[in-house]
């Protein structure tokens, strides 16, 4: 196969049979739907119709596959991590390397599709929300590539936690607007993006970053992300001659998880495990585990599990990971949870950071803190399932953006006085004190000032 031959559309992820859900109006059982002002319905209908036409258009499919291959670097490889797996009860652990994609995470898969859709409906401007900055960077990238104007809304709190990604977006020509309302994190960035969209809907398309929001976003983003699982399933069959026993992914809004789960949903023997951000622990109330610690309600245009109080007010979420720090979750996850097809477990900040350090030191891979939640899940699940288990973990992003947060957490900086790069770590008194041990991966003691 030469590198320039177009991938036949018949092989494209988008052409594969979709799950039976959602229904025509975007409902995953009782979840999903459209809870938005009437002023947005015409735009959502336009998107739905244009998307349904585009996904079966051979010219689009060829272009989408070409971008995946030549721009993003797909297919992303599978890496077995035996030294890490020694800490997982002897189970074998294989990583799906979405961290190696251009822009550093799975987010590029979705934005390339939505940017092509934007051009197709003749709009010149895109807006996006971002938490960790990964979706914002990906959107700014696609906008630069396709000559679209780009505005990214980001909670002020997150612009501080993820300053590197703010600079990246600006380098790419995007306008980054820090959001100062509410909790100043991802949920408020989404509110502001919706406000921009309802005001500028005639010229602007909203490139939504995850499998949440009103129909058609949950289904469309799933379709754009399912390439992760479609590739991984074929890669595992080719190299192992078998399917994995479990597929693990972190879940904030849940796009990387849906992306890797979808291909395996019909494989009833494959456990699908979503790892939610447990923050300080679900029992403390300071977490972002919408399914484990929330209940069904309506937020950001769809019915799904969410963190809410007795009055139906959204409760602020807490996680060391900006990308998982969201009080809602995509409606398909709620549906998969209720039908028992997928299971969802919380992973605390400490567990995630322990897994983060472990992967760094055993395998030379710095994961995104988001993805480290999935790695922590593998440590627990591997011990439960035993040495014969084959675990597939979606390494959804790389950790370059998290080096400062990790430095503060572990007390690794040369001058350990914390900067305002991670206010939360400072508040919790972890920044300036010797951090928790980096793990005993090599049975060595971490020296103060030891750099990652």
């Amino acid at each position: 196969m030469t590198t320039t031959a177009p991938v036949p559309p018949s092989d494209a992820s988008l052409s594969r049979p979709r799950p039976e859900w959602p229904d025509a109006t975007g409902h995953f059982g009782p979840y999903g739907g459209r809870f938005v002002p009437e002023a947005l319905i015409a735009a959502l209908d336009e998107l739905s119709e244009a998307y349904e036409a585009m996904r079966v258009d051979p010219a689009f499919l060829v272009e989408f596959e070409r971008l995946h291959r030549d721009y993003t670097g797909r297919p992303s490889p599978i890496t077995e991590v035996p030294r890490f797996a020694e800490h997982c009860g002897g189970a074998r652990v294989l990583l799906k390397r979405e961290d190696l994609n251009h822009t550093g995470s799975h987010k590029i898969n979705n934005v390339l599709g939505q940017a092509l859709l934007t051009k197709r409906i003749g709009k010149k401007r895109v807006i996006a929300e971002t938490g960790a900055g990964q979706h914002g960077v990906a959107t700014a990238t696609a906008a630069a590539l396709m000559g679209l104007e780009c505005t990214v809304y980001m909670g002020e709190e997150d612009t501080r936690r993820q300053a590197l990604n703010v600079a990246r977006m600006r380098l790419l020509g995007a306008e980054v607007i820090p959001v100062t309302t509410g909790s100043r994190t991802l949920k408020d960035a989404i509110n502001e993006a919706f406000r921009d969209w309802v005001t500028n809907v005639e010229t602007t398309n909203y490139v939504f970053g995850t499998v949440a929001g009103p129909h058609p976003f949950p289904a469309m983003v799933r379709d754009f992300q399912r390439v992760i699982g479609d590739e991984a399933r074929a890669q595992l069959l080719a190299r192992e001659g078998r399917l994995p026993d479990a597929v693990l992914a972190c879940v904030g809004g849940g796009s990387n998880a849906i992306g890797i789960f979808t291909a395996f949903v019909p494989d009833a023997d494959v456990r699908l495990v979503g790892l939610e951000a447990g923050g300080d622990g679900v029992e403390t109330g300071r977490h972002a585990s919408s399914i484990t610690g929330g209940d069904p309600g309506v937020l950001h245009g769809a019915r799904s599990y969410l963190l809410q109080d007795a009055h139906g007010q959204t409760v602020e979420s807490h996680s060391i990971s900006a990308g998982l720090d969201y009080p809602g979750v995509g409606p398909e996850h709620s549906y998969l949870h209720d039908m028992g097809r997928a299971e969802y477990r919380p992973v605390t900040d400490s567990q995630a950071m322990e897994a983060f350090a472990l992967l760094c030191r055993t395998e030379g891979i710095i994961p995104a803190i988001e993805s480290a939640h999935a790695l922590a899940g593998a440590i627990t699940l591997g011990k439960e399932m035993g040495p014969d288990a084959l675990l597939l973990v979606n390494l959804s992003g790389r950790g370059d953006k998290d080096v400062e947060t990790a430095s503060a957490w572990f007390g690794l900086a040369e001058h350990t006085a914390p900067t305002d790069g991670d206010e939360r770590a400072v508040e919790e008194g972890r920044g300036g004190e010797p951090g928790p041990p980096l793990g005993d991966a090599d049975h060595t003691t971490v020296q103060d000032g030891d750099a990652l």
């Binding site: 938005v36 002002p37 309302t181 406000r195 005001t199 809907v201 245009g301 007010q313 959204t314």
Partner: protein
């Protein structure tokens, strides 16, 4: 079905004027003052008060309303306070209608909300992020309790959606006059009049009230020239944010009430 809103807006029409509909959220700056402000709006001439339920994620509201509502959310204001406001507005002689994003109603319980709202003397509810397509439970509960239900139409609504939405409305239909979020604007624009015309063609017997953008008596007069009711929100909230209190609300109401009579 007897509709409080239809009756009151019809009475204004019989006087040859548009109705004045004032929005204020419960709980800003605190619950008693917000209720006092609603009563002041009525004393100044409001026919209907839209009683806002505080919500943490008011995606359709601009910065003015969000600033006020954030205070109420942080103070833990809930449906019990809203129902107190409903009773107070009814006692002051205006028609109370609740304005709420959907999740607080769903969380309270849709049937319970309808029952309690009717018992408090409320006319019904305006639901800005609930479209009739998703409103099965609310349609049933509002029918059972004899409540009005107000959905929104927008300039971008297709003819088919307009017809479907108007068929689901009772009391009046809320015409969002410009594309965008709530907030005062210097001009209301022609899109509002065009939308009202389209609405009347489909549902000639349903009152059309126009919101999003009116801030003074002159604009109220302009809108009153083509709509059955003029909805004012951010300008009222601005009075409270700027520290003018219930007296400022009353004065604004007087200006607006004169406007809707100038048509």
């Amino acid at each position: 079905m007897n509709s409080q809103l239809d009756t009151r807006i019809g009475a204004a029409k019989a006087e040859g004027r548009a109705a004045l509909i004032a929005y204020l959220p419960v709980g800003y700056p605190d619950v008693p003052t917000s209720i006092e402000a609603m009563v002041a709006a009525v004393e100044g001439g409001a026919d209907v008060v839209e009683i806002g339920v505080p919500y943490s994620d008011p995606g359709m509201d601009g910065p003015t309303i969000q600033e006020a509502v954030d205070v109420a959310v942080r103070a833990g204001v809930g449906m019990a306070d809203v129902l107190s406001a409903v009773s107070a507005v009814a006692a002051a002689g205006a028609v109370p209608v609740v304005m709420s994003y959907w999740n607080p109603i769903e969380r309270y319980g849709v049937e319970r909300f309808a029952t309690d709202l009717a018992a408090a003397g409320g006319a019904g509810a305006i639901t800005p992020d609930l479209i009739p397509d998703e409103a099965g439970a609310w349609l049933a509960a509002s029918d059972a309790a004899g409540l009005d239900r107000v959905f929104l139409v927008a300039p971008s609504s297709t003819d088919a959606r307009l017809a479907m939405t108007l068929a689901a409305c009772r009391g009046f239909v809320y015409a969002a006059s410009t594309m965008g979020v709530t907030g005062t604007r210097s001009t209301v624009g022609d899109t509002a009049q065009a939308l009202v015309t389209r609405t009347r063609e489909v549902a000639p017997d349903l009152a059309v009230c126009v919101g999003l953008g009116v801030s003074d008596g002159d604009q109220a007069a302009e809108v009153a020239g083509f709509a059955d009711g003029v909805i004012v929100g951010s300008a009222y909230v601005r009075q409270l944010l700027d520290g003018h209190g219930p007296a400022g609300v009353r004065a604004l109401s007087e200006d607006l009430a004169a406007g809707v009579r100038r048509r």
